[in-house]
């Protein structure tokens, strides 16, 4: 009995002493930034340059709604100076307990180290009136897949640069200069992407999930329906039949799906409509070659334009 108590006390004491004696990492010069998604990490890297150390929690080919709150993420969050998140409840299923358990006061909601990037972006599909889950897994504050619009990318980069400047005032000019440079490069790239997509403006497509409204708006695509009957609800036979009829009626050939969805239903729809399934990448890192925010659009637009050509 006494031995157990002593053992317990000893373990507790050793733990506390070891923790308190460990050197602080405060001397690190670079701001440690953790982004929930790789896209936010890429934007932060663009404006933060070598003054920041950025890491993303979710992988680019992973469904960002269903990331597991692994304890290994706590190792990253506990030393972070800044947490950049998508917000709009995209990460609600996994991020809040990680933030609480991180033991890092800086990244708690409301702190300077907590940055919800949705505040800088144009948000679409904000539900009007009452919202119920009869509509599926709706996001009451609007569609969180807003980063798939280069204009929002620019706005988010500006917002991130402003926060980095607040946190590291001596490097404010550096961040602002990098942000302006990024904006310039993005504008040039966007011109190229818009030109590539120009022949297909107004083309009707179907998407699996409501992941692409910002992308579609920017590049002039018309999303007429979804393979999911409701957000977060898997395809049902009756909805699939309705969808096939609608696609035939409106001569829609392309289905855009994310890499984390099963392609079985989209493939069978494609075979019935003589259409094509295009697996677009919603995030940086979805493929090894998509190493940054620019390459994400390069990849998706190359795939799309090719698919449009093939389904003329």
């Amino acid at each position: 009995m006494k031995l157990s108590s002593k053992l317990f006390g000893a373990i507790l004491s050793v733990t506390l002493i070891a923790t308190l004696l460990l050197p602080s990492s405060a001397e690190a010069k670079k701001l440690k930034v953790i982004a929930t998604l790789s896209d936010l990490a890429s934007l932060t890297q663009e404006v933060g340059g070598d003054k920041v150390e950025v890491e993303a929690l979710a992988k680019g080919y992973q469904d960002p709604h269903f990331v597991e709150p692994k304890p290994s993420f706590l190792l990253k969050l506990r030393n972070a100076d800044l947490l950049v998140l998508v917000g709009l409840e995209l990460e609600i299923g996994w991020l809040p307990p990680l933030i609480t358990q991180s033991g890092n006061g800086k990244i708690q909601p409301g702190g300077q180290g907590y940055l919800d990037a949705s505040q800088f972006a144009q948000i679409l599909e904000i539900p009007q009136g009452s919202v119920t889950r009869a509509e599926g897994d709706v996001h009451p504050m609007g569609n969180p897949h807003y980063w798939l619009d280069p204009d929002n990318g620019r706005r988010m980069a500006k917002g991130i640069a402003a926060r980095l400047s607040e946190m590291d005032p001596p490097d404010q000019a550096y961040f602002q200069q990098r942000e302006q440079d990024f904006e310039k490069r993005l504008a040039e790239a966007d011109k190229k992407w818009l030109a590539q997509m120009a022949p297909y403006r107004g083309r009707k497509v179907v998407t699996y999930h409501r992941s692409w409204p910002n992308f579609a708006k920017h590049f002039g695509l018309d999303v007429i329906a979804y393979i999911e009957p409701r957000p977060g609800i898997p395809p049902t036979p009756s909805h699939t039949i309705e969808l096939v009829n609608q696609m035939k009626r409106e001569n829609v050939k392309l289905e855009l799906i994310e890499p984390y969805f099963d392609s079985k239903t989209p493939n069978s729809i494609a075979s019935m409509t003589n259409g094509k399934v295009v697996v677009l990448m919603p995030s940086v890192g979805g493929k090894p070659e998509i190493t940054d925010y620019f390459k994400l659009f390069d990849y998706d637009i190359a795939l799309l334009t090719k698919a449009f050509e093939e389904t003329k």
Binding site: D63, R155, Y260
Partner: protein, 446 residues
């Protein structure tokens, strides 16, 4: 104040836009530079409008305009716009200029309401079990969750468990999230960090019941769940191992595990957790737990609990919503000294099976759950456990479970359970469980 800012902004925006319009068609000599500058200004304007929309969104999410008559703090910087999560909305101290003391309006007070959720748990049972009988139909539990950020330094979580006949505070605690040196502390009524199952609420268990070892040795459904405080800390470890220690002290009352006869009869729990990502898709999670408290026989009699647990998870990241596998096991030892029960049981209510002297009971469960489709899970569990007050009696059993999720917010589960009780009685039972969630989206269990 925000309305005033908004008005000013729109005036500026309108005038700039008008300027832009008046300039654009006019001079044929306008240079490329001027056009680029114009584009830039328009883009900046558009960005500011989007930012303003973000601010309006935030205000709408809060359900109100800021209280009238508030005065910005002197010298307040025009920093970034407010964050947009509901949690953030509940952090008043982060924007002290918006706080009005002395009775906010109803809309403003709603903005500070906690996130509310209700999880219903309905169970229908069939089969005969005279040792641990269950009703044919029961609204087993209705758990109401109330969760919010209290201030920049803490958050609060309450879980009220409504049974068919009464209400129980399952958990209610404050978590201090901004302590120095990376500590996280909780105070209130807490499910103790003893092993895995003890920490989990009913609705996140992969079964309709709890394992035999939990029922026999760790206090059953309520488990070690008591008022006290908890401190946890991540311990630096090499090679990306996650190592965390949790130390807890409680009043010392938890089901039939601990009884506090005096103020000093506190119980303690220590838990060491280690975790490692084996790959992007697989990980291993192990823990060792110890708990000590006083038994129902009085302050002179102490109960010790020892436990080890291990969990292996596989979830292919790209197909995470379709396939997963979790294997878990817990081994638990319970040791307690007991008085001469012929004397003791004359003065207190003793359990049904109890004997005098030192009892060393052991139990374990091993389970595996496989998700074979987006909505379907199949699993099994093997159980064995001695009885705590008479360790010579051992119960054994097993379960087969099939779960269907119509959506992320509802699930239907069928479970067949076989139990061979120590009295040589076999129970064959079947359960259908319906669980459904209303309100705020909770975190996914891990």
């Amino acid at each position: 104040m925000r309305r005033f800012h908004t008005l000013i902004f729109w005036m500026v925006a309108t005038s700039l836009a008008a300027t832009a319009q008046s300039q654009s068609p006019a001079p044929a000599q306008s240079s490329t530079d001027e056009k680029a500058a114009m584009d830039q200004r328009l883009r900046d304007l558009e960005d500011r409008i989007v930012m303003l929309e973000g601010e309006i969104r935030q205000l709408k999410a809060q359900g109100s305009q800021p209280a009238a008559g508030t005065t910005p703090a002197p010298g307040a910087q025009p920093t970034s716009t407010p964050e947009t999560t509901a949690q953030q909305a509940a952090a008043p101290a982060s924007q002290p200029d918006n706080v009005r003391l002395g009775g906010a309006g109803s809309a403003a007070s709603k903005a500070l309401n906690p996130d509310v959720s209700v999880i219903g748990d309905f169970i229908a049972g069939a089969g005969h079990n005279s040792i641990n009988p269950t009703p044919s139909f029961q609204m087993h539990e209705s758990e109401v969750g109330l969760q919010a950020i209290i201030d920049p330094y803490a958050r609060g979580d309450f879980f009220l468990s409504f049974g068919e006949e009464g209400v129980n505070l399952e958990e209610g605690f404050i978590t201090f999230t901004a302590l120095p040196a990376g500590f996280v502390a909780k105070a209130g009524k807490i499910r103790a960090a003893f092993g895995k199952v003890n920490t989990l609420h009913n609705h996140v268990l992969p079964w309709a019941d709890r394992p035999l070892v939990t029922q026999n040795l760790v206090g059953g459904e309520d488990g070690i769940n008591d008022a006290g405080f908890s401190v946890q800390h991540i311990i630096p470890a090499p090679k990306n191992w996650f190592l965390e220690f949790t130390g807890q002290t409680f009043r010392g009352d938890s089901a039939d595990v601990f009884t506090s006869s005096r103020k000093n009869d506190v119980s303690v729990v220590g838990h060491l957790r280690t975790y490692k990502d084996l790959s992007d898709s697989t990980n291993i999670d192990m823990g060792a737990s110890y708990s000590r408290g006083h038994s129902l026989f009085g302050s002179d009699f102490v109960t010790h609990l020892y436990g080890v647990d291990a969990t292996f998870r596989w979830k292919p990241l790209q197909r995470a919503i379709y396939h997963s596998f979790v294997a878990r096991s817990e081994f638990i030892w319970r040791q307690q000294d007991q008085p001469n029960i012929n004397l003791a049981c004359g003065t207190i209510d003793c359990p049904a099976f109890v004997r005098s002297g030192f009892q060393r009971a052991f139990g374990f469960y091993a389970s595996a759950d496989y998700q074979f489709a987006r909505r379907w899970f199949v699993g099994g569990r093997v159980d064995q456990s001695d009885r705590p007050f008479d360790a010579s009696l051992t119960d054994k059993g097993g379960s087969f479970v099939l779960t269907y999720w119509p959506s992320e917010f509802a699930q239907v589960r069928g479970q067949y359970r076989f139990t061979r009780y120590a009295q040589n009685f076999d129970a064959h039972e079947a359960f259908i469980q319906l669980q459904f969630a209303l309100g705020a989206h909770g975190a996914h269990p891990f």
